[in-house]
Symmetry: C2
């Protein structure tokens, strides 16, 4: 036993105090570094790198004594690292926008996660993430106030004939007043992400806990499921080619729409204390999830009364003309983008989102258009989108 116990206890010596993958419970022992770089708030417990400075530059460091070339790959740019006499590579990026960014390291041609960071699912992989402190980060900070829960919910989907899982946010007090029933927001991730995105990267739970504690939002349930859409093999364009026909193709959102309408909503209404009517049911999503929200709520306006799309297109008058019940039944249309997404004229299959939203308002709908300052197609835009959207819901 001695040998095992020693091994074991030497492991204990290395073990670090709590510091967690929610990314919000920071290690108070982390010390700022002399030149203003500090460990990222989403580092693994006890890891000194990656670091961030006040300009938003990212500094990474990794020991790779025999490597020929090591790079930091962030924001679609690769930055060369420099090796010291001990074989430790260090390097910095240009300033990054506030908020969360995915990144990877490249070691002699291999793209790998940074062993210092926590990992997040995005860009169709589990990989590294970093947090550039934002001026408004207080709205998603972990505070000592009543917290809701995020529940991993496993279920059988008849539509897909398979087991699936979703995450359910139940607001503070859900387990105390067992008579109370709640509205529900169905909240979808983007392409290449999954059902973990809105709580891990998006901090949807903390945003809601803070809004509810301040009396700015009503408490409601949030359902975060997996809306991943994969194009049928035969329809996929070859690399570098443009897809043939309309894009996205007709019917692309049908799979998730069926799962949502036939499996997820009935299950949630059966197993949670919901207000199970369209007046108390919202759908929103980011990027691909916003596009799904558009298709699904236009096709089924009898199911939803509040609609949100974050960096995922907008609703046009043409859409509404084709779905008259949408105009009649939907009480709120919320559209948001990051400001950097709007820097170039944005005219695509669904038109300019600001113009579209203004026209809906002029036609008598309750619309809101929000622009997140100085952010792009990234999580800080979507956190802010939810923060603006939630207080408008179910009122």
């Amino acid at each position: 036993m001695k040998k095992t116990n020693c091994l074991l206890l030497l492991m204990l010596i290395c073990s670090m105090a709590i510091a967690q993958s929610a990314g919000n419970i920071s290690d108070p022992n982390k010390q700022p570094v002399s030149d203003g770089y500090k460990p990222s708030s989403v580092n693994q417990p006890g890891k000194e790198y990656p670091q961030v400075n006040a300009e938003g530059r990212v500094r990474v460091q990794i020991s790779a004594p025999e490597a020929l070339k090591v790079q930091l790959d962030i924001g679609a740019v690769k930055y060369d690292l420099v090796k010291d006499e001990n074989g430790v590579w260090t390097g910095e990026s240009a300033p990054q926008d506030e908020g969360f960014h995915y990144y990877q390291l490249n070691i002699d041609g291999a793209s790998v996660p940074d062993p210092g960071s926590l990992y997040f699912y995005g860009a169709s992989r589990w990989g590294s993430g970093i947090e550039i402190p934002a001026t408004d980060q207080d709205f998603y900070a972990l505070k000592n106030l009543p917290h809701g829960q995020v529940r991993e919910h496993t279920y059988f989907s008849k539509v897909n004939n398979s087991m699936r899982r979703c995450f359910i946010y139940t607001p503070p007090g859900y387990d105390q007043d067992l008579q109370k029933r709640y509205p529900v927001l169905y909240l979808q991730h983007g392409g290449g992400e999954d059902e973990t995105g809105w709580s891990c990267q998006g901090h949807a739970n903390l945003i809601m806990d803070n809004l509810i504690a301040e009396g700015k939002s009503l408490p409601f349930i949030i359902v975060m499921d997996n809306g991943t859409w994969r194009m049928p093999e035969q329809a996929r364009p070859r690399q570098g080619e443009r897809p043939a026909g309309p894009w996205p193709p007709e019917g692309w959102a049908d799979g998730f729409m069926n799962t949502l309408l036939k499996d997820i909503i009935p299950m949630i209404d059966a197993e949670y204390r919901t207000l199970a009517d369209p007046q108390h049911r919202a759908m929103a999503g980011l990027s691909m999830g916003g596009m799904q929200t558009r298709v699904i709520t236009l096709a089924h306006p009898e199911m939803f009364s509040h609609v949100g799309m974050f960096s995922g297109g907008s609703i046009s008058m043409e859409d509404v003309d084709k779905s008259p019940a949408f105009k009649e039944k939907v009480k709120l249309v919320f559209i948001s983008y990051g400001s950097r997404e709007l820097e170039n004229p944005r005219r695509g299959p669904w038109g300019d989102p600001a113009e579209n939203t203004q026209k809906l308002k002029e036609a008598g709908m309750n619309t809101h258009f929000y622009v997140s300052p100085k952010t792009a197609h990234e999580w800080q835009s979507w956190r802010r989108g939810l923060y603006q959207f939630a207080p408008l819901l179910f009122k």
Copy 2:
């Protein structure tokens, strides 16, 4: 908008159908490879590598065109990979025991996670894991039957003056019969692991769902918190030295004991529908968590009636003599090990676990001793430990 949408939708093309980090929802499209190697069940969605064959060998593959040396680091052995003409490195390990193993890749001296695997917290880092299919894997398989939930629970700890989180397993039916109250098992991870271990690597939730569905276990709540213990800086032995004085040092478990007794248990009894008495309260843990269970239940036998230690020592007659209330009040002592841990005589600070457990039985206590066949100090031993332990609880 066009540019963004195209980028976005090309990402969608890459996105894979659901396949999840719980590690149990496998992608039905994964095809076996010709020489008997198949993708690991805990691969990232759509990733073909790492793979496992019937002998339990692990095959990894990574593109690293400019690398000089790439190794697979598993089971404390490093295996060289071989580079092909495209710069893709491939290699295999010796056969591994059934069950879950942590591993890393080594690229020109850098120890990094494999970009193909899901990631797990162990060895004091988030890193790669692989699953060697086990002959008895059915007991932790994801099945179409009633499932409990795993809830992320955030709370303020007065003892630590900080925010913490734990995971709570609530059994199937918890949200249906709102009058029913449940016993509670406090279940601890090992050194270098955290509160995610028992559900992510251990599949405690699936083990319970399956046992409950088969009528083999009563339903109960499981609380999985973070028991990480860090030795005070001044007391740490230097690398390579043996610790001075008794090991582990007196009082090493006091920190978590205080958190458990003063914060966690009162919170759980206040916020969940528990049977809040010692007859319906159990504590168990693996490795370091077993050692904590020993110290805490011997010090507070008035709090717990059922005790489990998986690869984490045992309870001796000397222990019981010093804590007479333990013998009087504790209704079950369960001790387990992996068979490979017992291959060498195991006599350490707490004596031989089989002998100790036998002596307690002879002294009139209800004890169980279980040995997991052909496994070492690894998760398969602990999954099996929980599977044997749970049916004995609260009966």
